[in-house]
């Protein structure tokens, strides 16, 4: 497939006075793409424009070569997993998936098979005849993913798939997303406000903030350029920061730790010197690979 799966040209969406998306250009090709940005950045708006739920104020959104707002049948080839709760209480997962497959255009007899297969793929084989209201949060999240995939879409849009999950559930969900992309061969665009999610799952990243794209590229480009370190000291943080800045290293306080970004390995020596100069007792010095706020800071400043 040569044409991009998703394409935006000068895509703009206003809600009254509020500008949700401004002049966005985007080309999404095969694989897993992460839409990264803080809450309110315009991620959900972008997804709704690609689903044809909203009409662009200006510009165009194209999905699989079609304009979704004008041609909603393209949604037979799209899957969507919303961020919020979206499951009925009094239906079994099996019934629900089969119904959703049919609403997406799959005939009844195939829908039942697809529903059973899909539930097996997301690991809900045993529980498929239980009412959804008895499911745990993690299980519900997997049903949400399954309903987005049950009609075998070409592209699936996942809105914050890890929202509300504990660390274990989050890892499981991300693993499922990776499998969906790599083993099932379904193209994915997922949105998240967590760099970790995007970094571990996606091939490409689009960073969006304030309704505009501020950066896009392969995941590796984002995580290797710079390295962030956390410096835990007992106290005297202000002195540490002053000493670091005297050595040309910008520092800030985050979560009780001093955070610095290094561009060269030699700067580690500067940190050691700064700590000595500030007479601070070092508790921990830990590297952290790219963090969302780093990317915003770098892009905007």
């Amino acid at each position: 497939m040569n044409q991009p799966l998703l394409e935006a040209h000068n895509l703009t969406k206003h809600y009254g006075q509020t500008i949700a998306l401004h002049d966005v250009d985007m080309h999404v090709r095969e694989g897993i793409t992460g839409l990264l940005g803080p809450n309110g950045a315009g991620k959900s708006t972008a997804m709704k424009l690609f689903l044809g739920l909203l009409q662009p104020t200006a510009g165009s959104a194209t999905v699989l070569g079609e304009k979704p707002y004008e041609n909603i049948t393209i949604r037979m080839r799209l899957g969507y997993m919303p961020e919020h709760d979206c499951l009925p209480d009094f239906m079994t997962a099996s019934e629900f998936l089969s119904h959703m497959a049919q609403v997406s255009g799959i005939p009844a007899k195939h829908a039942r098979t697809r529903a059973a297969d899909m539930l097996r793929h997301v690991g809900l084989d045993e529980e498929r005849y239980r009412h959804i209201k008895e499911y745990s949060t993690g299980m519900k999240q997997r049903v949400k993913l399954a309903q987005a995939l049950v009609h075998d879409p070409v592209l699936v849009l996942l809105d914050e798939p890890t929202a509300g999950l504990d660390p274990g559930g989050r890892e499981e969900m991300l693993q499922l997303v990776r499998r969906t992309g790599q083993e099932f061969g379904i193209n994915i665009m997922l949105s998240s406000h967590l760099m970790g999610d995007v970094e571990s799952t996606c091939d490409r990243i689009i960073v969006i903030e304030g309704g505009a794209i501020i950066e896009q590229g392969d995941v590796s480009e984002f995580t290797q350029e710079t390295e962030t370190f956390y410096i835990d000291v007992d106290d005297r943080r202000a002195e540490v920061i002053a000493a670091l800045e005297a050595r040309g290293i910008k520092a800030r306080i985050s979560g009780g730790a001093v955070v610095v970004r290094l561009h060269r390995d030699e700067q580690l020596d500067d940190i050691r010197d700064a700590l000595v100069a500030a007479e601070a007792r070092l508790r921990r010095l830990a590297p952290s690979r790219g963090e969302l706020s780093d990317i915003f800071r770098r892009s905007t400043g």
Binding site: I72, D85, H110, D117, H151, G185
Partner: protein, 318 residues
């Protein structure tokens, strides 16, 4: 994934290459789901109590007529128009309680979103839900009318002759059935679009219809009772009956105030379809109005809420 790989990984993901339906298939499957939800299929025994109970209420009166007609050779005829007048309140109760079931849980649970990201517009969604409920309501109503028809032909001296003479009643009661069920389907659904609790939707609809009946009655009924002030002064009621005085509180405007009983709006149209030998007071008053008036009134009561319902879903952000 290619065929070869699928054979190697037995449990691997399989792409779907079969036929796919479009919007029509989507509407159809939503319609089937709505139909099942309405009668409580696939939802456990408790979900079936209300639909079954309500259907029985609508069907019980004609079933009783049928039994009477079957055992007694001189049973009275029951008119199809009277059946609608008598059961309209039960039918309304049925839809006020059940119809919101088709819209409100979807919104509360967020399932509406999943429908609207499929090949289905908000309009399709509402129409599928609405028409499925309409079908159930119509089936229940027509079943009752068929019972009335059988009862009447049994009560007649010659069943065959009776049917030959009265076969026109069949298209009439079908048309009247559509008129009444469209009415009782649209209004509760429109109310259900504006509240997130099924119970409130039902209570609002029932309250609106139950309260307007006595209001209209008080304003339009011809009262021929003795004056109570006489009775209070004397303390003896029976002997104080003076000459009977009849009046309607709203006088000549009474025929207009009959329309205030909104629940009877569809039965006024039914009265126009059937030749009723023994019309009730309200029917006589409405017949004095230009025929366009009850038709327009019914139209407003259906189109207004229907438009609100569609507008609400079209402008809903998900």
């Amino acid at each position: 994934m290619s065929q070869a790989q699928a054979e190697i990984y037995d449990l691997g993901y399989q792409h779907y290459d079969g036929p796919r339906g479009g919007r029509m298939q989507a509407v159809k499957s939503l319609w089937v789901n709505s139909f099942r939800t309405t009668i409580g299929l696939g939802r456990g025994a408790r979900a079936k109590i209300l639909p079954v109970l309500m259907s029985l209420f609508v069907i019980a009166p004609p079933a009783v007529f049928l039994v009477i007609a079957a055992v007694s050779p001189v049973a009275a005829q029951v008119s199809h128009a009277d059946f609608y007048t008598a059961t309209s309140i039960l039918l309304l109760l049925f839809s006020a309680i059940i119809a919101p079931e088709l819209l409100i849980p979807d919104r509360r649970n967020g399932v509406t979103t999943l429908y609207l990201v499929r090949p289905l517009t908000a309009f399709d969604y509402v129409i599928a839900r609405w028409s499925a409920f309409l079908t159930v309501a119509l089936l229940v109503t027509l079943f009752g009318q068929v019972l009335v028809l059988i009862a009447n032909s049994l009560a007649a001296e010659q069943a065959r002759e009776f049917l030959q003479e009265n076969w026109l009643d069949i298209p009439r009661f079908i048309l009247a059935g559509v008129i009444i069920t469209v009415f009782v389907t649209t209004i509760p659904m429109a109310v259900a679009a504006f509240t997130d609790r099924r119970a409130y939707a039902a209570a609002f609809v029932i309250a609106a219809f139950v309260i307007t009946t006595p209001m209209s009655g008080l304003l339009t009924t011809e009262w021929c009772e003795r004056s109570m002030t006489f009775a209070v002064e004397s303390g003896e009621i029976v002997e104080e009956l003076g000459p009977e005085e009849c009046r309607r509180i709203t006088g000549d405007y009474a025929k207009w105030f009959v329309l205030l009983d909104v629940g009877q709006a569809p039965t006024h149209l039914g009265d126009m379809l059937f030749d009723d030998d023994t019309p009730d007071d309200a029917s006589i008053l409405v017949a004095e109005l230009p025929p366009a008036v009850p038709i327009v009134w019914y139209g407003l009561l259906v189109v207004g809420p229907g438009a609100l319902l569609l507008w609400r879903y079209r402008s809903m952000s998900i």
